[in-house]
C-alpha cells in the first residue's frame, strides 16, 4: 500500500485495459496516481478484433494499439510477460509471477477471456489450436505449412474468422457447428441460410447440427481427424477450437471475489466488484450489473470509461450495451444490430431475401414504426445508417431500406440524413456531430485525421465508409478541395485525362505523364493504377487521335495489365484461360467441335461461362499463339474476356423459335456484339437482348440491356449482377433498330468519357450529378450538343476494329513475347502443372507452395510442348 501517491493496479493489458489507461490519462488521473500494469502476453495491447488481418499481411506491429510514448509520457509502469498471480485483498497487494509485489488503492481486473475448448478426448493433441492471441496465430501458421486440411470447431463469429484464415493458408477447410446454422447468436435462420450458401460457394465445407465427439490422432499423438456426433469421421491435419469464450476469473475466484454461476466477476453499475469496493472488473472478465458478460469491445470501452469516471468521483454507470456488430467474414458482410431477433413484444419483420445473390436483410419494426433492430447478410452497406436510426422512426418506409438499389423506390438515406446526435461509431460512442466538428473546428481533411482526432472508426472499423462520406460532405460544404486525382502520378480524374488526351491528341503515356502528371511523378515510370487507365483511354480513342490501334503496339504494350498484355486471362497458378468470341451465344456445331478438339489437344479445362460462351483454362503462355492460330483458322476471334471492354451480348432464342418471342433477339444480340467488340472502356461491359418481356436473357442485369416489345426495343442501362446487384433503368422505349443502335453508341461513349477508372455503369449512373435524368438528357435529348461527336467516335471505333489475336499471330515481334523464358523459350514454367479432377484438369496448387515435385507425379497439361 502506498502512503502518499495512491496507486491504481491494472491486471491485463488488452484492448479494454489500454482504453482504461487512456481514460485515466484523459481525466488527469495518471498525474495524481501511480499506475502499474501487469500484462500476461509478451506484447502490450494490440487490436484483437483485427487479429485475422495478420494473415492478409498485417504485422504484429501494425496491430499494436499501444503507443509507448503515451505509456512513458504518463509515467505508467507497464510490465509485459508478467501476469498477476495472487491478490491479497486484506493487505491490498498484488503479486506477479516475477515476484514483484505491488500495493494498491484501486485494483482493476481486465483479464479478458479464454477460449472454451469442449472436453472431448485428445483435445490437447498436437495439431489442436485455439484462436485468441497473436501467438496462437503464429503457431497455426507454422503448423499449416505441413498440413493440407483444417477443421474449425464452432461456426460463430470467431469460428468463421478462423476458417477464413485456414483457407487463406491454403488448407481445405471444414467448419463444424453444433447449432443448426452458422453464427447462431447474430443471425436467424434466413440469414444463416444466405451465409451458408455463400460460404459453401467459396469452397469451404460446412457441417451444421453436428458436435465433435473425439479428436483422432496417430501413433505419435498428432491430429489425423475428428469423430462427429452423427457417426461420421472427418479427416483433418489441424483443428482450431473456436467454440466461444469464457471469462478469465480465476484470479478473482482465488481471492474470494463473487463470480457468477457461469463465470464472470460480479460487478455493480460502476463496475465495482460487489464483494470489495477497492476492486473493479471490466471487459470480458466482468459479469455486468445487467447479468451479462459482454464479449464485444464497445461495451468494454464503456466500462473502462465508467471506472475511470468513478475513480475521479464523477457520476457514471454501465447499465448494459448494444450488441450491434458488423463484420466482413470470408468476404461476406454480416451485420446485426439492436433487437435483431425481434424479442420485443408486438414487433414486425420486414424481410428481403435473395438466395441467388446470397442476400438477406431483415428489419425489426415496432408497432409505431420505430426501427428496433435488424440483420444484414451479403450486403451491409446500410449498417452504419440503420444502426444510427435504431430507436427512432426512420424518415422513409422501412421496406425501401432493405430493397436493392433500383428496385422500387430507391432509398437515398445517406449519412447526410442523420441527425447530429446519431451515433456513427458505436465502439467509441462518437456522434455525427463530433465527426463534423473534427472537420469544421479541428481542420481534419482526411479520414485518418478524423480517426485520430475522434477515435471514430478505430474499433471494429465498420463505420469507416460512413465516416468517409461524412468527411467528404463536410469538406465540400466548407469549400475545401478534396484530392480526387487518379493516383500519386496524376492530380486529374480519369474524366479529365480523357479530355486532355482527346483535345490534345496525346498518343503516348510518357508524354501525358511528363507534361500533365504531378510534379513529383514527371520523368518517372508511373504506376500500376494510371498505366492501364491511360492505356484504356488511348485505346478507346485510338482511331480518332491517331494512336496505334492494337493494344500491343509500341509503348502501349507496356501499359496493359497482364491480361491485356497476353490477350488472355491470368489464373492463379500463372496459366491462362482462353475465350473465343461467340456472338450472341450462337454457335454452329462445326465450330463447337473445333473448340472441343483444341481443348482436347491442349488438355484444357473447359467451362461454359455466364455470358454464353466457352472458357478454356490451363494454357501456358507459350501455348497461347498455337491455340489461337487454330482458333483464328477456324474463324474465331478474340472474345476480349481479358479486357476492360465489351464481353458478351447474351440472348434468348427470340421470335425465331420461341412461342412468346416478339422480335429477333439473337440477330440483334449478334449485331450489337459485333458492333462494340474490342471497345476499350473504364470497366468491362456486359449486355443482353431478350426477345420478349419474359426477359430470359436477364438484360436488366447488364450494363446495357435490350428487351423486345411489340413495337420495337426497350433500352435499359446501368444494370449489374455480382456483389452489388442493381436492376437497370429504362432509358428509352419502343425504339427501331437504328434508334436503338444510335442511343447505345451515344450512351457507351458518354460513359467512356465521364466514368472513373474501374467504375461500372451501375456505379457511374448513381454517382454522376443528375443521375439517370442527366444521362437521358445528354444521350436522348442531346442537351450538351455532343451527340454528333459521340456518334463519330463510335463510328471510328467500329470502322477500325480488327481482331487482336489475328493481328498478333501474324506479327513476329508481338509473338516473341509469348514465351515462358526469354533464354529458354521451349521450356515450360515448371510450377504450372495440373492434377486430374472430374475427368478434367485443375491447377496443382500445392506445387506453388513447395516449388517442385518429382516429374512422374505431374499430369502434363500439354500435348504440344
Amino acid at each position: 500500500m502506498s502512503t502518499d501517491t495512491p496507486t491504481i493496479v491494472l491486471v491485463g493489458h488488452g484492448m479494454v485495459g489500454q482504453r482504461f489507461l487512456e481514460a485515466l490519462a484523459e481525466r488527469g488521473l495518471t498525474a495524481t496516481h501511480r499506475v502499474v500494469v501487469l500484462c500476461e502476453e509478451p506484447r502490450p495491447a494490440y487490436d484483437r478484433v483485427q487479429l485475422t488481418s495478420y494473415f492478409s499481411g498485417k504485422t504484429p506491429e501494425d496491430l499494436s494499439m499501444t503507443d509507448l510514448a503515451f505509456i512513458e509520457a504518463h509515467g505508467i509502469e507497464l510490465h509485459v510477460g508478467d501476469p498477476a498471480e495472487t491478490v491479497d485483498r486484506a493487505a491490498r497487494e498484488v503479486t506477479a509471477r516475477s515476484g514483484l509485489v505491488v500495493g494498491y488503492d484501486v485494483l482493476v481486473l481486465a483479464t479478458g477471456s479464454y477460449p472454451f475448448v469442449p472436453p472431448v478426448p485428445n483435445k490437447d493433441a498436437e495439431g489442436c489450436f485455439v484462436y485468441r492471441t497473436i501467438e496462437d496465430l503464429l503457431a497455426i501458421e507454422e503448423y499449416a505449412r505441413r498440413s493440407t486440411t483444417g477443421a474449425v470447431v464452432g461456426g460463430g463469429l470467431l469460428g468463421l474468422e478462423a476458417a477464413g484464415a485456414l483457407k487463406g493458408l491454403g488448407l481445405n477447410t471444414h467448419i463444424v457447428e453444433f447449432a443448426p446454422r452458422l453464427m447462431p447468436v447474430q443471425v436467424d435462420e434466413g440469414g444463416g441460410a444466405a451465409l451458408l450458401r455463400t460460404i459453401e460457394d467459396m469452397g469451404l465445407s460446412v457441417h451444421t447440427g453436428v458436435g465433435t465427439q473425439e479428436i483422432v490422432t496417430d501413433d505419435a499423438g498428432a491430429v489425423t481427424g475428428m469423430k462427429l456426433s452423427d457417426g461420421s469421421e472427418l479427416a483433418t491435419d489441424l483443428v482450431v477450437f473456436s467454440a466461444g469464450v469464457r471469462p478469465r476469473d480465476q484470479l478473482a475466484r482465488a481471492c474470494g471475489l463473487d463470480v457468477g454461476e457461469r463465470g464472470g466477476v460480479a460487478v455493480d453499475e460502476q463496475c465495482r466488484t460487489v464483494t470489495d469496493p477497492h476492486v473493479f472488473a471490466i471487459g470480458e472478465c466482468a459479469l455486468a450489473a445487467d447479468g451479462r458478460v459482454y464479449g464485444l469491445v464497445a461495451p468494454g470501452y464503456e466500462q473502462a470509461a465508467t471506472v475511470a469516471a468513478t475513480i475521479a468521483e464523477d457520476e457514471a454507470a454501465f447499465t448494459g450495451a448494444d450488441l450491434s456488430t458488423k463484420l466482413k467474414l470470408l468476404g461476406v458482410d454480416v451485420a446485426s444490430f439492436g433487437d435483431a431477433h425481434g424479442t420485443a413484444g408486438d414487433c414486425l419483420d420486414v424481410v428481403y431475401s435473395d438466395s441467388r445473390a446470397g442476400l438477406y436483410k431483415k428489419l425489426v419494426i415496432g408497432r409505431d414504426g420505430t426501427l428496433l433492430g435488424g440483420i444484414l447478410v451479403g450486403d451491409a452497406e446500410a449498417y452504419g445508417t440503420l444502426r444510427a436510426f435504431t430507436g427512432s422512426v426512420p424518415p422513409v418506409a422501412p421496406e425501401s431500406l432493405v430493397l436493392p438499389a433500383g428496385a422500387g423506390a430507391p432509398a437515398q438515406l445517406g449519412p447526410s440524413a442523420l441527425p447530429d446526435d446519431a451515433v456513427v461509431c458505436s465502439c467509441h460512442n462518437v456522434t455525427k456531430g463530433t465527426i463534423r466538428a473534427a472537420v469544421t473546428d479541428h481542420r481534419c481533411t482526411t479520414v485518418p485525421e478524423v480517426k485520430k482526432c475522434t477515435k471514430a472508426g478505430t474499433g471494429c472499423g465498420s463505420c469507416v465508409k460512413v465516416l468517409g462520406q461524412l468527411v467528404n460532405a463536410e469538406l465540400e460544404a466548407s469549400g475545401v478541395e478534396v484530392d480526387k486525382g487518379l493516383c500519386a502520378c496524376f492530380s486529374q480524374t480519369r474524366e479529365e485525362l480523357y479530355e486532355i488526351v482527346l483535345a490534345l491528341r496525346v498518343t503516348s503515356y510518357r508524354e501525358l505523364l511528363d507534361r500533365h502528371g504531378r510534379e513529383t511523378a514527371r520523368g518517372g515510370d508511373g504506376c500500376e493504377v494510371c498505366k492501364p487507365a491511360v492505356g484504356s483511354i488511348i485505346a478507346s480513342l485510338a482511331p480518332t487521335i491517331g494512336a496505334g490501334t492494337h493494344v500491343l503496339d509500341g509503348e502501349q504494350a507496356a501499359l496493359q495489365d497482364t491480361n491485356d498484355h497476353f490477350l488472355a486471362n491470368l489464373q492463379k497458378n500463372g496459366s491462362y484461360s482462353v475465350v473465343p468470341r461467340i456472338p450472341g451465344g450462337e454457335i454452329a456445331p462445326e465450330k463447337l467441335i473445333v473448340i472441343g478438339e483444341i481443348a482436347r489437344d491442349f488438355n484444357l479445362y473447359t467451362k461454359i461461362t455466364g455470358g454464353q460462351r466457352i472458357d478454356m483454362f490451363g494454357a501456358r503462355v507459350e501455348q497461347l499463339p498455337l491455340i489461337w492460330a487454330r482458333l483464328v483458322d477456324a474463324g474465331f476471334e478474340s472474345g476480349h474476356a481479358y479486357g476492360k471492354s465489351l464481353r458478351t451480348v447474351k440472348s434468348c432464342v427470340g421470335q425465331t423459335w420461341c412461342r412468346y418471342g416478339v422480335q429477333d433477339s439473337v440477330r440483334m444480340a449478334i449485331d450489337l456484339e459485333l458492333r462494340y467488340r474490342g471497345l476499350r472502356s473504364p470497366h468491362k461491359l456486359k449486355s443482353a437482348v431478350s426477345g420478349c418481356q419474359r426477359e430470359c436473357a436477364e438484360a436488366q442485369s447488364k450494363d446495357f440491356g435490350v428487351i423486345a416489345t411489340a413495337n420495337g426495343w426497350n433500352l435499359y442501362v446501368g444494370g449489374n449482377g455480382g456483389a452489388t446487384p442493381r436492376h437497370a433503368d429504362l432509358l428509352a422505349q419502343d425504339l427501331s433498330d437504328a434508334e436503338l443502335v444510335r442511343l447505345i453508341d451515344r450512351f457507351l461513349m458518354f460513359y467512356i468519357r465521364t466514368a472513373d477508372r474501374l467504375e461500372r455503369t451501375s456505379v457511374w449512373l448513381d454517382r454522376i450529378p443528375g443521375g439517370l435524368d442527366h444521362v437521358r438528357d445528354v444521350v436522348v435529348h442531346d442537351s450538351l450538343g455532343i451527340c454528333d461527336e459521340l456518334e463519330a467516335l463510335m463510328a471510328a471505333h467500329v470502322s477500325h476494329y480488327r481482331d487482336e489475336w489475328a493481328e498478333a499471330i501474324g506479327d513476329p515481334e508481338k509473338l516473341a513475347r509469348f514465351v515462358s523464358f526469354v533464354n529458354a523459350p521451349d521450356t515450360p514454367d515448371p510450377v504450372v502443372a495440373f492434377v486430374p479432377e472430374r475427368d478434367q484438369i485443375k491447377p496443382d496448387l500445392p506445387l506453388l507452395n513447395i516449388g517442385l515435385r518429382p516429374a512422374d507425379d505431374i499430369l502434363e497439361g500439354t500435348a504440344t510442348r
Binding site: T59, D525, A558, L559, D561, F566, N573, A816, V832, L848
Partner: protein, 116 residues
C-alpha cells in the same frame, strides 16, 4: 534449355555467385515490361528495364501466391523508387531491393544485373 542469341548486341547479364550469367539481348527488353529467365539451378528471375534504360532483376516467384509471374507485372515509380506490382494480387515489390512495399515482412531476392 536453348540459348540462341545474337552476338553483336549488348547482353543483359545477371550476377550469380561467381560469374555473370547471360540472360538475353538488351534489345529484347521493352521498357516497363519484364521478361522471365531460367537460371541453371532451376530458379526463375524477372528482368526489367525502366524508361531510362536502367536494369533490374528480382526473383520471378510471387511469394503471396507461389506462381512465377512477377515478370508479367506492371512497373512504376513509388517515391522515386522503381517497383513492380504482382499481376495476381497487386502487391508491389521494390525492384532494387526486392522488398515488398505492402508488407514489410516479405522480400524477394534481388539480383545484380548489367548490360555488357
Amino acid at each position: 534449355m536453348t540459348l540462341t542469341l545474337e552476338t553483336t548486341d549488348l547482353k543483359v547479364r545477371l550476377r550469380l555467385t561467381d560469374d555473370w550469367f547471360t540472360v538475353c539481348d538488351l534489345s529484347t527488353l521493352l521498357p516497363g515490361r519484364g521478361v522471365a529467365a531460367l537460371l541453371p539451378d532451376g530458379r526463375q528471375v524477372a528482368v526489367f528495364a525502366d524508361r531510362s534504360g536502367r536494369l533490374y532483376a528480382i526473383d520471378n516467384r510471387d511469394p503471396f501466391t507461389g506462381a512465377a509471374v512477377l515478370s508479367r507485372g506492371l512497373t512504376g515509380t513509388h517515391q522515386g523508387r522503381p517497383f513492380v506490382a504482382s499481376p495476381l494480387l497487386k502487391q508491389r515489390f521494390d525492384l532494387e531491393s526486392g522488398q515488398c512495399l505492402d508488407d514489410e515482412t516479405v522480400r524477394v531476392t534481388a539480383y545484380e544485373v548489367k548490360a555488357a
